[in-house]
Symmetry: C3
Subunit: 682 residues, 3 copies
């Protein structure tokens, strides 16, 4: 089922349940203020289980009837949640099995949220029952636009039921203990499993087990999500469904969740420092998330489900969000494919641990706050851009980001010790950053994706190669694609077993022409650099300091474009190219700083003729992105710095989307500002 | 019952129980050395339960009979302890319920001290029984001056009995679940309590619950303390009672304990660094504690129950205490109202985890140590000051320090993230520091205190307003008082629910004339400053960098005395005044460094004509305090720096308390020294 | 039983069990590669329990038969392990008692290794049974050179069986509760033990208990080890036994384990930083370990059982080991008495948490790697040095390093707070470093060792004096020895009770002539220094900054050679000497930096005429060591810096051990290199 909206959705999480009993006047005031703020959608019912069912079997839906009617009456739509994210306390007492068990075997007391076992038959039954009732009741309510499944699914449970479920999952995966033992290399430290019952997921000695546990947690979550949807459908609900993801949340493989959603939704909480260098990095990382969410359904628009119009109370330094910063952050999502701008939260509650979380409406309660005013302004802007919703961004470049690769690195002792246990993420973000900075549209792909539509494929640290990936990469290159591989590629297979015969493995040593004999790590005080040859036709020259990971590479059958300069790597290859079929594969043997990737991206762009959202040079911290409906391109020019910039537009015919006026070639971009341009589609 | 002493008490914790079995000669030696050291009081029996009752029902008191007789014979008094602070191991095994349970539900093994459940009926009964026996036996022993209740009450227990007790406490407080749910804002995250039994104190999502749990722990401790006293009285004891507090210990509201004591007692362990800037801060913070303890019973003298004549073994760097440092530290307590100087401990034990805790008598055992000599010298000094015990310090200025405010900030996510989770304490200490530095006597008050005797009331970060406090502040100002409010005032009510309608809430926005629209936090690299107007009659001028918390303030009906200079706060009000009735209220919208508070204190002093202990300018790190008996003032002039200072006395008639000689106007103050002066009472 | 080898052993841990099922060709390849690498020994069967006994009572030894035959056929010897270090999972399920319990009372799930209870009768029986079977089967297998007991014994268990065992151990030690209570000073905090059953090892208040628990854990481990050996002997095994130690592992007293081994074996994993200052310290600390292991059996050669030919995967920065670094590290062990160079591991496994641990054979699998080549080169070197195995290093100097002293400091609150809880180790290493740096051979001794063969005895921080030690020290001095005592000497007795009467205690105050009245600690920003007299005949002059621990010393009957310069210690004695009988005792009242110890070592050397391995001046980071067979001395000259050095040999007649050529007086030593010299024995 697809989800479309003909106009931008603007709104956010709305919890009138906190106010209705004692402050009924607040609900009236909410309608007045939503109108003023240009709000047309709200997420409701997210944590309302105890209100629906204050004691077992006693149901109350009238309040939600009234709420939805009121919203409808005010022309406001609803994302109606299933309340599985936080169960009532009576259920934890009545059925202790619904509470999670931690890795030390301790059953949780009732507290917080996201606190339920994934396997518990009781909990599954209770959720299905309530979802079905909600569906039956609101299947055709005109206010309900979308079902919001639970909230930020996360966490894991170590109860006997979940362990049994893991063992079943393993039986399916491996069929025999012999296969499992080989995959887990369990002869190591005498860990051979001689009976399925002996499997204990807490044995961190077995890296294959750890990887499988990660997969299982995702699969279990997906299974739970599917059961939620099934109950809604059984209840008769016809509306599309989604759930709110959390960016690159480390513990769930969102690639496996995406197929079950009708539209992708994400919660984004970037932290701005009001220092240019850090903020442009934050902007780039945020753009990466947005590109990933846009790519998850092949370019379809997605929903920004939660963001903060102001400060988050959980920040170590809960700094206020300045007006331009807020506007840029929201329009960055729109620039990268979001068809909504939604906030957590509409109104600050009086109590609870999120009482100081930023909201559109402050405790003060009026429309007179700075925050409210800026939200209302953006509401106006969005209201005047009906051309954009539904449009997309075509890309010639793609970068691989895959949770399975990440988990393989995290569970492989050695590599896992870098970057506080998450050695995969940073280089991916850094490389994407460089392309974003040039305004080169980039998709973000799973390693098993179809690469055929792209001209350039970036595969930083492709440590794990799932079955078929090596072949797909080879085929991509052979048919004319350009592939970039880097250090720590092709190291383990799907079971976290290292390839034999030299890295990059699984055949890559042969067709890339390089053997990465050793990987070395630098202390902060060490230095290494790479120097480009002056003779090659690859348009990159000069000497560049490396980052903290370098490889001792042998160019067995590849052209050396750059060599290392120091230490025992001196004069060894650092960057190579091999032509293959009608394509080419590059191997970069060092993790590098963003500044180098920036030059590398430019070299790829100029040599491959990659197109940019704006064909002009952009200063650091200024970004250009675009969406297109085939007739017109909508260009977002954004300044994430505290300085004004003068931008030279390219030769095309630009008008301002807001004023509809023709734009001069030299465009003034104030600090922390966004200009919205339109031009004929290219 | 009141406690009076006609001379300074000098002594400390005395544990002959560790020596009497195998080293009887040590007890004789103790008497000889106590005489040499000028010791006239000892705390005895603090951890003696197993000696009184080595197995259940088998009691031995002869040793205490002999000890008290021996002390009496040597003209040494006793603070006789109840031994509830550490139970015998046999009791932990016989009655496991007496052991505490931690927040993860784990019953403690027998170890340490302060290790008992507060609710256990068995433990209560055992304590009452032993206290009653002690009282009956020593009710009229001439050596027993005072009952020392337990020792440094602290800790909490998570056993089912304590949880049940908490639920009873809540029933009393709220009467109905409806009231409790509103107070706890429990609709948030579906945490509504639908049955009293469902309350789980470990649910940190509910900030109201967390605040109530803090209150409950204090109330439970008070209840335990009262039961201890009741048993003593039932046994016939007539002597006054106290217990030793621990300064600003975060987990007990000492304002609620103070009423049940006949005299206030405190344990003070300041850490000196032998670097002037840090040491003057340490001295100021220590003076704050002393002022608080003096204020707890309206100016009555209090007892310094524990201090260290040398190094504490638990310091990260267990640095020796230099002689002048020791003397200054002890006389600082006396200057601020202590009528005793007592040490932990008289003699170092041979074993146990405090074997290296500083003591008057070292393992070496003779009177020849540096430490013994300095103690004996101070003993001499105290012996020659019989005028001082019983005297007090009148104050025109008071500062509010309230555990309920502190807990509200600590449990409110957002503000709680500053200052390592204790955002309330530092600004209070800093503001008090400034007044201490000028020699302006300052009382320390609970927020519900009677403010009527004061001219200036400092209420830094009065985040929580208990019922009646807003009205009391208004009344104070209306009747002519000067009130200073600061950032983060009037934010929540007694349930930790934010006020609605704009901060400072509960009516304060109206009568202070300011609305604190937003609170902002600075990164260490950020900078903000405030600039004073040149036109106002408030005697403060110039530009001052702020601390890390600033507010976006609107002066709705107040005079702006200073404005912010940077960032989005530029030109907004930073410091305001509103006249009201015959008084005035100031609002300072930024946390500031001590150096600013110093100038602010001077501005208040000069504009209000506040009196100082010495009417002269004092260099940083030099302090003047005084006590008075109505006829004479006793002035303590103390140098907490490593440099000598020349102090210009004021015009009064000063004699030296020790030499009784007339003093010149220019007084030399060597490094780390105290001069004791006397003048006619003012 | 003694262990001798007529040639260097070269090899390492070999786990063909990980490969034999699916990769039989790998085993053939291993033999080919071992031959190329000069490998003549392997450690086998270390974690093979599940392969021997995949289900209870089902045994498989054929694979080991074949393995040993294959090794024998290839002239490779085996260290055959007992597999007690990691039990099969079925055993953990069948007999939960075999799993350890942690200090919070939680029974371990099955995971990791070193995961068994020490007391469990079931586990003891299972281990004995399997050991006996192995012994019976391989008692006369020609490949089996040595039994390798378990692997890196470590850890403790808090189960009821172990606690009961501890109580029995205490009954034996103390006989009566009265003695125990005195030793534990348990009147402190009411901790008197009134029934053996009340003893809880987790009571950290009792420092005597903590010390005893440490001792018990060692004794329990020794008991387990002895049972392992007994089972081997019962099975008929005649070969010698060893186990691999872990340097100065904090939790086992290896002095108590050494007597039960036929040869000492150690695992050494120094971390090189490739920065000269740090690396020379690392080299010195490693040399200390080697000296200790050589001293453990009176100078007999020992086995380097595990080392890494490359990077360890568990390093925070898993840096590759450069070739010269590798070679120096291995030859450092040989220089200090090792008769083997063995690695963990021969070949990298494909999975498990050590899959990236350095190995001779990489995942790549060929002999073409840099690492393999360097190992093969060293194999060649060792092959050509048949003169050296069996030789030893006579020493005139000894330094005391004793785990009981270390534990006493660690469990004594106060001193324990320095150096992250291990205040004993660093000064010992630093002092040894100085002597190593001069090329002065030094033995490392337990405090209860026989000192009679030495001329200079270094006893840094001899905090605890076991019974008889004070007398032995006195006798050593009286008979002509030179003794160096330092700060924090003679503080506690064997029960962790402080001595009375002034430190150094137990009579030392009397015969050293000094009283260490106070110990003081410095903040990092503090400074203190000591100044030597110009008049004494002790050949040391000048002013030296101290380290962070200093003492207030009184020279009651000793000559003051140096005095402190600052603070309250100014002009007090810092370094004293007292002549006694025909010897002398020095007392150094400050912890000092290595640079001072270097000068002190030189002063001792020149005044006592101590001999060096090479009678020449050595630059920092260059070390000379030697071994001798009585006819020839074999001198190892090693450069642990990144710079070349020119070394002036002494007047003796030197030939190069490798080239057998006569050497010039000025010898060139490239960066990170070792020269092997031979001369006539001195």
């Amino acid at each position: 089922m697809a989800f479309h909206t003909s106009h931008f959705l603007h709104g956010g999480d709305y919890n009138p349940d906190q106010w209705m009993d004692r402050y009924p006047e607040i609900l009236d005031e909410d309608m007045r203020l939503m109108h003023k703020a240009g709000v047309n959608v709200t997420s409701v019912g997210i944590f309302s289980w105890v209100r629906y069912e204050p004691s077992e079997g006693e149901f109350h839906f009238e309040w939600m009837d009234q709420l939805l009617d009121r919203l409808h009456h005010n022309n406001i739509k609803a994302f109606l949640a299933t309340p599985s994210g936080s169960k009532p306390a009576w259920m934890s007492r009545q059925y202790p099995e619904v509470c999670r068990v931690d890795a030390r075997g301790r059953r949780d007391h009732h507290a917080r949220r996201h606190n339920h076992c994934w396997s518990s038959p009781v909990y599954r039954r209770k959720v299905a029952d309530l979802n079905q009732r909600l569906a039956a009741r609101y299947m055709d309510h005109p206010a309900v636009l979308l079902w919001h499944l639970s909230n930020e699914y996360n966490g894991e449970c170590h109860c006997p039921l979940c362990y049994e479920s893991f063992r079943q999952w393993l039986r399916q995966r491996y069929q025999s203990l012999e296969e499992l033992n080989h995959a887990w290399w369990s002869e190591f430290w005498s860990h051979r499993i001689t009976d399925w019952e002996l499997i204990d997921p807490r044995d961190h000695s077995i890296d294959g087990l750890r990887l499988d546990w990660h997969r299982f947690v995702t699969d279990q979550t997906v299974d739970f999500l599917k059961a939620e949807v099934a109950a809604l459908r059984k209840g008769g609900a016809q509306q599309p469904v989604t759930t709110n993801m959390m960016g690159t949340f480390p513990h769930l493989d969102y690639w496996k969740i995406a197929p079950y959603l009708d539209v992708i939704a994400d919660d984004a909480y970037p932290t701005w420092k009001y220092h240019d260098q850090q903020d442009r990095t934050t902007a780039a990382h945020t753009a990466f998330l947005h590109d990933m969410h846009r790519s998850m359904k092949g370019g379809q628009p997605w929903l920004l489900m939660e963001s903060c119009p102001d400060t988050v109370q959980w920040a170590p330094v809960p700094k206020r969000k300045r007006p331009g910063v807020y506007r840029n952050e929201m329009l960055l999502a729109v620039a990268h494919g979001a068809d909504s701008v939604c906030y957590f939260q509409w109104r600050k509650g009086r109590g609870g641990m999120e009482k100081f979380h930023g909201a559109v409406v402050d405790h003060e309660g009026s429309e007179n706050t700075r925050v409210f005013q800026q939200v209302a302004e953006l509401g106006q802007t969005l209201h005047h851009l009906p051309q954009i919703p539904g449009t997309t961004t075509p890309a010639e470049t793609a970068i691989i980001f895959d949770w399975e690769v990440r988990w393989a690195m995290q569970t492989s002792d050695g590599p896992s010790r870098i970057d506080k246990g998450d050695p995969y993420l940073a280089p991916v973000l850094d490389l994407h950053h460089a392309f974003w900075n040039h305004g080169i549209p980039t998709d973000v792909l799973q390693s098993t994706a179809d690469f055929s539509g792209y001209r350039l494929l970036l595969a930083p640290q492709l440590f794990l190669l799932l079955p078929g990936v090596a072949e797909a990469l080879h085929s991509f290159v052979h048919k004319g694609g350009t592939l970039l591989l880097t250090q720590l590629s092709g190291v383990v297979n799907e079971s976290n077993l290292t390839f034999l015969g030299g890295f990059p493995g699984n055949g890559l040593r042969q067709w890339t022409g390089v053997w990465a004999e050793e990987v070395d790590y630098l202390y902060p005080e060490d230095s290494q650099s790479l120097q480009f040859n002056n003779t090659s036709d690859f348009p990159l020259r000069g000497n560049f300091p490396t980052g903290p990971v370098v490889e001792s590479l042998r160019a067995e059958d590849a052209e050396t474009l750059a060599t290392f300069q120091n230490d025992f790597l001196a004069s060894k290859p650092a960057f190579t190219r091999r032509r293959l079929g009608s394509g080419q594969v590059f191997y970069l043997a060092a993790r590098m700083p963003v500044s180098f990737y920036h030059q590398l991206a430019e070299a790829f762009r100029s040599s491959l003729g990659l197109r940019r959202s704006l064909e002009t040079h952009l200063p650091e911290g200024v970004a250009a992105s675009h969406r297109t409906d085939g007739n017109h391109d909508f260009v977002f020019l954004q300044n994430f710095t505290q300085r004004p910039h003068q931008i030279q537009l390219d030769q095309d015919d630009y008008t301002c989307l807001e004023s509809e006026q023709r734009l001069p070639e030299g465009l003034h971009l104030p600090p922390w500002s966004t200009r919205l341009l339109q031009r004929p589609a290219r």
